[in-house]
């Protein structure tokens, strides 16, 4: 049975939504321990990563400063990974463009010591030279995903999505190709699943972490404060389909609480998750997913 961990960090966000990094670190520690069954954060890290790995943290900065991965969220994760003896220079926080990273508040760092932060459009990085074809996907792949990193964490913002229904860990990898705009037909189905199925992603993906500190449960993926709920949670999963399925469930509950029509009623069910399940990428049936929740 696939296991998904939801860690709620009460008080991790102040009233002004400033992040308490001490609390955030504890959320990561608990999430990794619960996910691996280890009793210490270091053991949990070692269970997931070798210390010579180059770990990519794929964040999401497409929606501007208000709804992108905040720097403390990704940098605290990177610091935590570093406590598992992964050198800082082997930790890459990345997304499509440097412009979007900077808009989201990141200070770029490609050549200096420390945690690496840069976009695919950085000089000498770029995309694969030739298109890579897999099922219905035909794209150039970010050289960060393809060549630079050896393992990957999808650190995605959990959001409602007008076309896909829900955007979470799997769809976050749309940011690793040059032409994501070509894959939004039919509620992104089967494209999200087929992109994830490519070797550069599936082989390297190690875990999904959904940033549900603030959840845009309606009219996403753009930011609308009226429909953004402070949940103060992180969702951890080794099964990419199950983790996103739980993410969908979180959005469904919020929509229900706010008397909004369900995604089914709005005709935008994230059916790519069912396709992903059929392709053997993970578990999409909520009844077959063990959800563990903890508040710290």
């Amino acid at each position: 049975m696939s296991k998904v961990i939801i860690i709620k960090g009460k008080g991790v966000l102040s009233d002004s939504r400033k992040i308490n990094t001490n609390k955030l670190r504890r959320m990561y520690q608990r999430g990794f321990c619960r996910l691996t069954g280890e009793n210490s954060p270091q053991k949990a890290l070692r269970a997931l990563f070798a210390n010579n790995e180059k770990v990519g943290i794929k964040i999401n900065t497409i929606a501007g400063k208000k709804l992108s991965t905040p720097p403390p969220v990704s940098l605290e994760l990177a610091q935590f990974l570093h406590t598992g003896d992964i050198p800082k220079k082997n930790l890459v926080v990345w997304d499509r463009t440097n412009r979007e990273l900077k808009t989201a508040g990141y200070n770029l760092n490609k050549h200096r010591k420390g945690i690496q932060i840069f976009g695919t459009d950085t000089q000498d990085v770029g995309y694969s030279e030739r298109p890579i074809s897999h099922l219905q996907i035909g794209s150039l792949f970010s050289n960060i995903q393809k060549n630079i990193i050896s393992s990957s964490i999808s650190l995605a913002i959990l959001k409602d999505h007008g076309i896909a229904g829900v955007t979470a860990g799997m769809k976050n990898y749309f940011g690793s190709i040059h032409n994501p705009n070509k894959y939004h037909d039919n509620h992104c189905d089967p494209f999200v699943a087929e992109l994830f199925d490519t070797s550069f992603i599936q082989r390297k993906h190690r875990l999904t972490i959904l940033d549900a500190l603030v959840v845009q449960y309606h009219l996403g993926p753009s930011f609308h404060s009226s429909w953004a709920e402070k949940l103060e949670s992180l969702v951890f999963g080794l099964d990419p389909v199950a983790t996103d399925r739980v993410g969908w469930n979180i959005i469904a509950k919020l929509r229900s609480q706010k008397n909004l029509p369900s995604l089914e009623e709005e005709g935008r069910v994230p059916s790519y998750l069912f396709t992903a399940q059929k392709m053997g990428l993970g578990e999409g049936d909520l009844n077959k997913i063990e959800i563990q929740e903890e508040e710290i």
């Binding site: 501007g64 298109p131 035909g138 076309i163 040059h178 032409n179 070509k182 753009s222």
Partner: protein, 373 residues
Amino acid sequence: MDRRQFIKSASTTSLLASPGMCALCKNLYSFTDKVNISHREARYYKQLPHKEIECKLCPRLCKLGDKERGYCGVRENEGGTYNTLVYGKACAAHVDPIEKKPLFHFLPSSRALSIATAGCNVHCKFCQNWEISQKRPEQVHNIDLPPSSVVRSAQKYDCPVIAYTYSEPVVFYEYMYDTSKTARTEGIKNAVITGAYINPEPLEDLLTVVDAIKIDLKAFTQKFYSEYVRGKLQPVLDAIKMVSQSDVWLEIVYLVIPTLNDSPEEIQSLCRWVRKETSPDIPVHFSRFHPMYLLKNLPPTPISTLERCRQIALDEGIHFSYVGNVPGHKGESTYCPQCHNTLIKRRAYQIQKINLHQGRCKFCDTPIPGIWS
């Protein structure tokens, strides 16, 4: 430079081998390495509540939230205003012979200043210019070439035609429209090379400022359009009909891909449709496919298949049918539908002989449809 030298140089320097520009163009303009995009309000969209918009330019009708881009990748919702990111931002500019488009009944042997921007509103697996059409404007090198500069360049390089081509001009509609309008005031004609995936209203407006349209009809089945183009056939057929009913010159090109869209039945249906719904005078070109982009597993189209397609067209009553991408083939030339003499003898992009006088066959005086001067 005489005509022969020009054609030779143009046909060798205008090939789009990279997302940048050919050697000729590098001498014309200078590049900038910085991201160079526009933020000019687009036409044909509707503002919706909560800063959402619906694009009305093409049949996709993309509905987008703030900061999202359409399928084309070159139009973005910026705070509830839908902007084109490629207005005056050309990623390719070449001088081509008009025969390269191909337009065979439109000012033969004339030079066409040919421009393109990044982006496309379909996703053909066999795209020959995917390095610009399937990219976003930030992923190619753009130069500042506003409409007035395009027109000035056409004059400078002795081009009586400006062609909007290579990628998909529908996605740079505003740029094309304004350039065409300016060009007309200077006596320069405008030719559009397109897949015609466009809605009726913008097409109707475009037809008031351009002179010729070449439409790539990629197949005659919805199945092919779904699987290999990611679009719908019917809007393209509607666009063909609309252009054929206007004063704008129209030619149709059909890229024949082995096993996918080359059955005699499909070609026959296509030709019957053209004759019945438009006119037998509209030229239909059958072009040779070469393995490209995501369709590399198929061989080039056998020449015999192209000959068969052309013969089906002629048998179905299409007056002008051509074989394309086969230099030196007799099917590249134009023949009088009445007396069958050679009217325009072509070899690749070269015109070797023209037997037309004031748009009529020199041998039997039959009027030949087209724009000849």
